[in-house]
């Protein structure tokens, strides 16, 4: 009997190439009675059973197979009994990889749960005994070196990859920390891949110091940022997490000091940080400046500098604000079913980043040209953000485009469909932008994750603000391959700057998003979210939300944040 652990192929789904050992070829409908006959199941250990593996088909199999060899089967491999002894004896013989035309359900599940690597390949029948194979997971192909052929493999869903890479279901459950020491799963969590922390440095232990770049900007930026800092301090006091805040200039205030909306020093502060908190930029004072010199360049440059290609904007309906939102929610929508969706907007491509040109050469008829351009890889990476987020939510993605008119949209749709193949659990729907703009108002409760390109996302996110009731309520996260940036979606509101009436909710919720996505502090993030809900439920309103209603209590920016802090301390 052979069992040399060290020679086994350890399947790691992120690795590019797996060079397979000798191929053992079996036919269609290989049932589990062939893999391990019934009479041996009662044995008290898997190792006693292994010498009988495939006995009815090949009595010498167990003595001739070598660790690292692979099994190739036809259709419906592993049908019949649920006996997990079948994948277990195969694994015990040092085989961690099975390729088949298709697998029977229970065998497939048992294989995944055991941490084995099962690949479905329609062309498996083309593989013969002793063929030399290289499996390239990155490209999704099997290369048959003996026959000089390539076969596509079925994508493996993320959830299964995580189980396999953990070493099996039991290890996955322990690792996913969905269980405490008594192995109980947190019942509120559906199985899903965790949305990755987008900050590269986020893997440090929780007691580490987190560096946050604080960029208040112009207008109401400084006063709402002040509230954000208070919230961070409160969280720091209630956890063992330490934060180091470093302030930088951005926007108009940076133009005034350095003649540049995004000075080098600010870029350096951001690069040295684990996350960026951004207030708002711009104001009438700088309106005379030309495009490239305006304060808004500050944020655009930041997006570019840190490749912040994905903008995440959660939109939530607050029942306590029903009277200020102009969007009427149908009465038959339950409280739990109230609108709560996330808009994922592509942020560094499309029309806004294409060529802009105004041609004045022709005497009478001036031309203007803006170019919309998207590459496959740009769409691929933003789609993955949406799918990963959807896995954490209701597993529904609405991809918004204008594929009946635009080539960019047709490519968009193709790529989204391809990526969706890796997430079979997620329901994908494509919707035209014009229809979506209407539906987001008429039935906002029907959306879960909306994925769209830059221009459409810009428009839809303002519509989303209507559902919440005020622009001041919405936070956002801009993520990329490096440090992520968090900012409220509203602007610098110069007309009310310094009056203490600005709504700090969008900024405070941006802090919650930062804790969740960059630092993995889901619990603390939820506490902040809940504290905001409670503050609103208690009737506390900044000016933008205040109505003459008797239950409304008008408060200043500072007072509102203090109420939120009160509720954080209570929880």
């Amino acid at each position: 009997m052979i069992n040399k652990e060290n020679n086994q192929i350890k399947p790691t789904l992120n690795k590019d190439n797996i060079i397979a050992g000798k191929v053992w070829r079996f036919g269609d409908n290989i049932d589990t009675d062939q893999i391990i006959p019934s009479q041996y199941l009662i044995y008290d250990s898997i190792s006693r059973m292994t010498k009988h593996a495939f006995e009815p088909l090949d009595p010498d199999f167990s003595t001739r197979v070598k660790p690292g060899d692979i099994i190739v089967g036809g259709k419906n491999f592993g049908c019949g009994s649920s006996r997990e002894q079948a994948p277990a004896v195969i694994k015990q013989l040092g085989i961690n990889l099975i390729i088949a035309g298709s697998f029977a359900r229970i065998f497939f599940r048992n294989g995944i749960n055991t941490g084995m690597f099962l690949i479905e390949c329609e062309k498996a029948y083309k593989i013969s005994r002793d063929d030399k194979l290289v499996i390239s997971m990155a490209n999704g192909i099997i290369v048959n070196r003996t026959r000089d052929e390539e076969y596509n493999i079925m994508p493996i869903p993320e959830f299964f990859k995580e189980i396999i890479n953990s070493g099996g279901l039991l290890e996955f459950m322990k690792k996913a920390q969905k269980i405490d020491h008594s192995f109980k799963i947190d019942s509120d969590n559906n199985a899903s891949t965790k949305v990755r922390s987008y900050s590269k440095k986020s893997k440090k232990a929780l007691s580490d110091v987190k560096k946050i770049a604080v960029l208040p900007g112009d207008g109401i930026g400084p006063e709402i940022m002040e509230q954000a800092v208070k919230i961070i301090k409160t969280i720091s006091e209630t956890t063992n997490m330490r934060f180091e805040l470093v302030t930088g200039d951005v926007g108009g205030v940076a133009i005034d000091k350095y003649g540049n909306p995004l000075p080098e020093n600010t870029i350096k502060i951001c690069k040295d940080s684990d996350a960026i908190l951004f207030g708002a930029v711009g104001g009438p004072k700088w309106d005379f400046l030309k495009g490239a010199d305006r304060p808004e360049r500050g944020i655009l440059q930041l997006r570019k500098e840190f490749a912040l290609f994905a903008n995440i904007r959660p939109v939530q309906f607050y029942p306590s604000l029903e009277k200020v939102t102009p969007v009427k929610i149908r009465e038959d929508v339950s409280r739990e079913g109230k609108p709560n969706f996330v808009l994922i907007r592509e942020l560094t491509g499309g029309l806004y980043f294409g060529k802009h040109e105004t041609i004045t050469g022709r005497a009478k008829d001036i031309h203007a040209i803006d170019v919309m351009e998207y590459s496959e890889s740009e769409i691929d990476r933003i789609a993955r953000v949406a799918f990963m987020l959807a896995m954490e939510r209701d597993k529904r993605v609405t991809s918004v485009d204008k594929a009946n008119v635009l080539d960019c949209s047709r490519l968009w749709r193709d790529v989204v469909n391809r990526v969706s193949g890796e997430y079979p659990e997620i329901q994908v729907e494509h919707m035209y932008i014009d229809n979506c703009a209407m539906k987001i108002i008429s039935s906002p409760q029907d959306f879960d994750v909306i994925l769209t390109e830059n221009l459409f996302g810009d428009i839809l996110s303002d519509e989303g603000a209507l559902i919440a009731g005020s622009l001041g309520l919405l936070p956002s996260a801009s993520i990329g391959e490096k440090v992520a940036l968090y900012e409220p979606i509203h602007g610098s509101a110069p007309d009310i700057a310094g009056l203490g009436t600005a709504n700090p909710v969008g900024m405070i919720l941006s802090v919650a998003m930062m804790l969740r996505y960059s630092f993995g502090m889901n619990k603390e993030a939820s506490i902040i979210d809940q504290a905001v809900v409670k503050t609103l439920e208690e009737g506390f309103r900044t000016q933008d939300l205040y109505t003459a209603d008797s239950s409304d209590k008008k408060v200043s920016t500072h007072e509102f944040a203090d109420k939120v802090i009160g509720f954080i301390n209570q929880s």
Binding site: S81, S82, R105, S182, A191
Partner: protein, 433 residues
């Protein structure tokens, strides 16, 4: 438009068990399990994983864990005896009261003791899919899943698509639900419903006894199905009333606009007896096509066709007749309850007179690890569910799967035979009169 789509009964049962009313096909969810059943065939492996790999020191709920000795009862080897003892010790240590020592085949015992409409049951045996006939969502799982459920009461699952089978018409005399499900598997293939739920509706299903419905649901895994479902009707409610169960279950029906991945329509009125030939369950022919093939052994029993209704059909054929010379006939009632009823109704006398070997309820010849094992080159006709190579003994033996009536007729003739020449009235009228 993203609107709440109509849901199938299966989706509704899953939704109820993961507390998420908005689940959709293809979604992966964690479900709360009502019962988890494990039998002696895999008990060693599950206990090993639970105690040593997880290192758990308690069950999530001892009253929801069910242990059944059925695959090798009475024990046939020292290994079996040790496994049974390990099961007993485990039950004692962890406080499992629902342990059954020789009550019958696990799925029949589950039917008699635990299955209720609207519940969600998992079992470390592929034929756990059987309980769908009572509107219970039941799924066969492996040992790792089983150990995880023992520890947590939860399991990950992908919400399956549903195939709807609408079965109309009236079954002809001498043709049974086994013939119907064999015919369906023959048409859709052994992987035709892989990962799917098979839901059955229609007047042919309505007309069937619960026992016949059980047979249909039981065989769905042979088409690869994850689970099966029939919407409980008055027959199910009457059965529950008879057992004194008036509440604590829920009849879950599909929405009118439920989404089915595929729909199949059959008219059963012209169906003839079917038989699955070696070595896969989808290698189905009609009995007249292979009539006359010599057999060595005949078996009536198993969770598929070992119920009192099946024994009555067999007795109808065996009454006053003897099996052919040189043929072995093994009859194994599916449970102790059925065994007793068969004695009381005089069926066992008929079988003994016909020349049968009667076994205590267990999995018996259905899997070749316990009794009635067949030798090199031998041919078995069986009322069970699998005909894989070597499933009942030697790897060059052959197994043919058919209804109890076809098995009985074949035992009498010593060769595969059409039962329609033996059946002149519906079983129930025959014995009730």
């Amino acid at each position: 438009m993203v609107t709440q789509l109509g849901m199938t009964a299966t989706e509704k049962i899953i939704a109820k068990h993961c507390k998420n009313s908005k689940i959709r096909t293809g979604q992966i969810v964690y479900i709360d399990v009502d019962y988890c059943m494990t039998n002696d065939a895999t008990i060693n492996f599950v206990i090993e994983l639970f105690e040593n790999k997880i290192g758990a020191d308690s069950l999530w709920d001892p009253d929801r864990v069910i242990l059944i000795k059925d695959h090798q009862v009475p024990s046939n080897s020292i290994d079996t005896a040790n496994a049974h003892k390990r099961m007993d010790d485990f039950a004692g240590k962890f406080g499992v009261k629902n342990i059954y020592h020789a009550e019958g085949v696990c799925h029949q015992v589950m039917y008699e003791r635990h299955v209720k409409p609207g519940t969600l049951i998992v079992g470390a045996d592929s034929h756990t899919c059987s309980y769908g006939f009572m509107g219970c969502l039941s799924i066969g799982i492996g040992s790792t899943d089983c150990a995880a459920v023992w520890a947590s009461g939860k399991m990950w699952m992908k919400v399956p698509e549903t195939y709807k089978f609408r079965l109309n018409g009236v079954m002809p005399l001498g043709v049974y639900s086994k013939d119907l499900i064999l015919r369906i598997i023959g048409e859709i293939s052994a992987e035709g419903a892989n990962y799917k739920c098979m839901e059955f509706q229609g007047e042919a299903i309505d007309a069937m006894s619960l026992s016949e419905r059980f047979t249909v649901a039981n065989m769905t895994v042979e088409a690869g199905a994850k689970c099966s479902l029939m919407i409980p009707d008055k027959k199910v409610i009457d059965y529950l009333m008879q057992k004194g169960i008036a509440d604590n279950y829920s009849i879950i029906t599909p929405d009118e606009d439920a989404i089915y991945a595929k729909e199949f329509h059959y008219n059963v009125s012209d169906l003839v007896p079917q038989i699955a030939c070696p070595y896969s369950v989808d290698n189905v022919k009609s009995v007249p096509q292979i009539e006359g093939l010599k057999i060595d052994e005949a078996f009536i029993g198993s969770c598929t066709n070992g119920r009192i209704e099946d024994l009555r059909v067999a007795a109808q054929i065996f009454k006053g007749r003897k099996i052919a010379n040189g043929i072995r006939l093994l009859i194994t009632p599916a449970s102790r309850k059925i065994y007793r009823e068969a004695i009381e109704e005089g069926l066992i006398d008929i079988f003994i007179d016909a020349g049968a070997i009667i076994n205590h309820p267990n999995c018996s010849v259905c899997w070749g690890a316990c009794q009635g094992v067949i030798g090199n080159g031998e041919r078995l006709i069986s009322s069970a569910n699998r005909n894989f190579r070597g499933r009942a003994g030697s790897s060059n033996s052959e197994i043919y799967l058919a209804s109890p009536a076809t098995v009985a007729a074949s035992a009498i003739e010593g060769k595969i035979a059409d039962p329609r020449g033996y059946i002149f009235s519906k079983q129930d009228t025959f014995f009730d009169s």
